[in-house]
């Protein structure tokens, strides 16, 4: 009996209170702290070996807090286990080089991919795992619960309520995981105001607020200048629209970021209109506010868009289109990566995007031998959601065509998500888009990964679109047939060169491979004149002046 009464049930909270007491001796009693005390505060609230979540989103970055973390005394704070969705700033890796942090669990590392691979192979970083966003968020609530979260918001009020607004992104999920396990939350904000437009994070979930010396770093990641779209991208876009969007009546979808999908977006009001597809495809999106969506939205194609994050310059446009976007009572949008990824996983008919390499089985990867780039969110959408139970027309049709369905579930009807890769057989400098073996294998070896990082597995991939044709891979009834279908559209790459003309002819007969001619597409029309907007300025015009592009995109 004695033993049981001695058991402590709130050790996490007691630990936090100890740290908070220590913090109070440095920053006093208020929530709002000053810039010059921030490093000392971090030394007080972070202990060696802590799991620390440094908010690095796809777009907005807690850059000031990241810099402060790099400046802590490594005799006091060391061996940290960093848990963050994106490694994007140099400081995100500096913290390892300085010996402050030791281990990382993350999701995406775009700009730092090369340096990360080097640090892993030099054993300066212990890699936990590379996740998809949703997977990492899931682990926040299981075995990767942060003790301290260093987050970022646009504004705070004096009580510590936060406004994360248009670029809310990952903040809610990080704060909820941290605070409800008695952790400590520190927020950097651009400004402290009397009254917030709305409260995105309530004050009692936030322990400290600091106004950073300069506004947080944010990158316009989803802006594609239509001036850079090529004729061959226009061709693939025409093929995708006619051979997939129209064929399946794809209504709910996500577009990966890239010029291929930007071309599709800009072809909806022209080529799509000509094919009479308005209302029949592309009504609902899980998508960042891509500026190249403006012409389709303005022409009445789109009913709804829920966004993972925001996009610089789209704030006013989105605010003025509340029927389409998810806009709060204050009038500004709230993005939310966790919800949008969930929507993307369960509620889409189709994911379509581009990749670096596809192998002969249909596995695709953006990894190269010397870059650990991670996954981000694409695999959550670029897969068949096994838990899906509702049915839509496109999902059902794809399932009915599934060549291996009978082998797996017998005669039971089941749908299938369309997972489409748009792939140029050769990219710039003649780098092949199809390979016998993915570079991911080499990376796995170089960086000591357990498994080669694969973005989309072959069994999830249903369609590949190249300039040579569309391969309807899900219709294949064996791996041999899938490989033949991939070879048939892989052009003059090492994979395509092994295509047997008689196999290709048979696949065309079966409707597993369709060339542009089979699809009734006039290749001579495939040029930029089909784009609804040919440059950023025309997007501004389409938006009736509401889109306010960042300076680096303004050709005027």
């Amino acid at each position: 009996m004695d033993k049981e009464t001695q058991r402590v049930w709130d050790s996490l909270n007691r630990d936090t209170q100890e740290r908070m007491a220590k913090a109070r001796t440095i920053v006093g009693t208020g929530k709002v702290i000053s810039v010059d005390k921030t490093v000392a505060l971090l030394e007080a609230i972070i202990k060696p070996g802590d799991k620390v979540n440094l908010e690095g989103n796809n777009q907005k970055q807690a850059d000031f807090l990241a810099d402060c973390l790099c400046k802590v005394d490594k005799n006091k704070v060391y061996d940290l286990h960093m848990i963050q969705s994106v490694l994007s700033l140099p400081s995100h890796l500096d913290v390892f080089e300085k010996g402050i942090a030791k281990k990382v669990d993350f999701s995406f590392s775009g700009p730092q991919a090369g340096r990360l691979a080097q640090l892993i192979s030099d054993k300066k970083i212990e890699l936990g795992a590379i996740h998809t966003y949703l997977e990492l968020f899931g682990r926040y609530f299981i075995d990767l619960v942060p003790k301290v979260a260093l987050i970022v918001a646009f504004q705070a009020d004096k009580e510590g309520n936060l406004y994360t607004g248009f670029n809310t992104e990952d903040t809610p999920v990080i704060v909820e995981a941290t605070k409800f396990k008695q952790g400590i939350v520190v927020a950097q904000v651009n400004e402290i105001v009397d009254k917030l437009p709305r409260i995105d994070i309530p004050a009692d979930w936030v322990d400290f607020v600091v106004k950073s010396p300069s506004p947080f770093y944010i990158e316009p990641l989803f802006t594609r200048d239509p001036a850079l779209i090529t004729d061959s991208q226009v061709l693939r876009a025409m093929m995708a629209i006619k051979g997939i969007y129209a064929e399946y009546g794809v209504q709910r979808l996500n577009h990966g970021v890239g010029f291929d999908t930007a071309a599709i977006e800009l072809l909806l009001p022209t080529y799509g209109e000509e094919l009479g597809l308005k209302g029949k495809i592309c009504s609902y999106f899980s998508l960042n506010p891509h500026p190249t969506m403006i012409p389709a939205i303005e022409s009445g194609w789109v009913k709804s868009i829920h966004s993972f994050g925001g996009e610089l310059g789209m704030e006013d446009y989105v605010r003025a289109r509340p029927d389409v976007f998810f806009v709060g009572p204050d009038g500004s949008m709230r993005s939310n990566r966790a919800y949008s990824q969930m929507a993307g996983h369960y509620s889409l008919d189709m994911f379509i995007g581009g990749t670096l390499q596809i192998d002969k089985y249909g596995n695709s990867s953006t990894a190269t031998a010397s870059r650990v780039a991670g996954f981000g969110g694409a695999p959550n959408m670029g897969c068949d959601a096994k838990g899906r139970r509702h049915s839509t027309e496109a999902w059902l049709k794809c399932g009915q065509e599934y060549g291996m369905s009978h082998e797996l579930v017998g005669n039971l009807p089941r749908g299938k998500r369309l997972v489409v890769q748009l792939q140029e057989t050769f990219r710039e400098k003649l780098a092949p888009g199809f390979v016998e073996e993915l570079d991911a294998w080499k990376l796995a070896k170089n960086a000591n990964l357990d498994i080669p990082p694969v973005m989309i597995y072959g069994d999830d991939l249903t369609h590949v679109v190249t300039e040579e044709g569309i391969a309807y891979l899900h219709k294949c009834s064996s791996l041999v047939e899938r490989t033949a279908a991939i070879r048939a559209v892989a052009g003059y790459t090492e994979v395509g060169m092994l295509a047997k003309p008689e196999d290709t002819a048979a696949l065309r007969k079966k409707g597993i491979v369709k060339t542009p001619e089979d699809l009734g597409i006039d290749i001579s029309r495939a040029n930029r004149s089909l784009l609804a907007a040919k440059n950023i300025r025309e997007l501004v015009t389409w938006s009736k002046g509401l889109y306010n592009p960042p300076a680096k995109f303004r050709n005027w």
Binding site: R528, K534, N535, G545, A551, K552, F553, R554, N555, W556
Partner: protein, 327 residues
């Protein structure tokens, strides 16, 4: 719809050198001289392993606007940045010589009725200047083109069209400035040192070349129009350029001479005054200059449509007699 009719609606910015050359003169009148079939390409590029073009990136030829032969020089920015080398430069010089020769022949043939039949030269610039792979020949070509301008002066108008992707930079920036008259679109850019080079030499704090809005505020059509560095600002279509060109061709040689921005003692003095003003004003941004010339809210100017801009923008007032002639 004929090819020419389609071309009229084309974005000037998006059009190739050949499309611009065909579309800028009357329907079906363009004859290309030293075209692709003549296969006169650079003798220097192959040894360096660089790709060649049958026209060396410059389209030359002659067409008509009304009764006037219009000699066209059109640069292709997609071929090595529109750079001018030996062949392309030679084609430019030869075209100017042909035009001047035609002037004398027409005057002789129609001693009393040559007005309205005299040739003109139009140069559609899209270039960063000298082709570094053949820089001596390229530089020489720049000088020879300028030389021909002197011969043409007062006889036939030499008109610049600037509205293509690369803009008109480097040595060709001087060449463009030395023509009688400049027609630009908002997307056109005119200058000497390109933005990237300025950033490289002076640092990102001085000039951030990735800030395109800044680049256009400093070298773009609207700025050049306010500064009187270009004479006319038109919409981004071949038709708009052609219409403005046709209108300009109705002017007398005297009126055209008055449109020059450089090339006389008085104009040099006027330019020097501008240099003095720049020192006094010490502007941090083009907008400071726009404000100085009477634009109360300079920040809105880049956002305005062409029509609204032309209505609202206040231009620098030219001091030299006749220099006030403007669009």
């Amino acid at each position: 719809m004929s090819v020419w009719n389609q071309l009229q609606k084309n974005s000037f910015l998006e059009s190739s050198a050949r499309q611009r050359a065909n579309g800028i003169v009357d329907n079906g009148t363009f004859t290309e001289l030293l075209g692709p079939r003549d296969r006169v390409s650079s003798p220097h590029l192959p040894v360096l392993g660089e790709a060649v073009a049958f026209d060396d990136g410059i389209v030359t030829g002659v067409g008509l606007i009304g009764k006037r032969p219009v000699f066209v020089i059109s640069q292709e920015g997609r071929f090595i940045g529109g750079s001018v080398g030996e062949v392309g430069g030679g084609k430019m010089v030869a075209t100017l010589k042909l035009a001047i020769g035609a002037y004398h022949q027409i005057k002789e043939k129609y001693p009393t009725s040559y007005q309205g039949r005299l040739p003109a030269v139009v140069i559609s610039f899209e270039t960063g200047g000298v082709r570094l792979h053949e820089s001596n020949a390229g530089l020489l070509a720049h000088a020879e083109v300028m030389d021909q301008f002197q011969d043409a002066r007062g006889k036939i108008p030499v008109i610049s069209l600037i509205g293509s992707k690369i803009g008109c930079f480097g040595g060709m920036g001087f060449v463009g400035a030395a023509t009688d008259l400049i027609i630009m679109s908002e997307q056109g850019r005119l200058g000497l040192t390109g933005p990237e080079v300025i950033e490289q030499e002076m640092g990102k704090d001085e000039f951030d070349a990735s800030n395109k809005a800044l680049v256009y505020r400093t070298t773009g059509g609207k700025h050049k129009y306010i500064m009187q560095d270009c004479n006319f600002l038109v919409e981004d279509s071949i038709e708009a350029f052609r219409t403005q060109l046709a209108e300009v061709l109705t002017l007398s040689m005297e009126s055209i001479e008055e449109m020059r921005r450089v090339g006389s003692q008085k104009l040099v003095e006027e330019q020097l005054e501008l240099v003095k003003l720049a020192v006094e004003l010490d502007p941090r941004d083009s907008m400071d200059v726009w404000k100085y010339f009477g634009n109360e809210s300079p920040a809105i100017l880049p956002e305005l449509s062409l029509t609204d801009f032309l209505k609202q923008a206040k231009r620098r007032v030219r001091k030299v007699e006749g220099g006030s002639v403007n669009g």
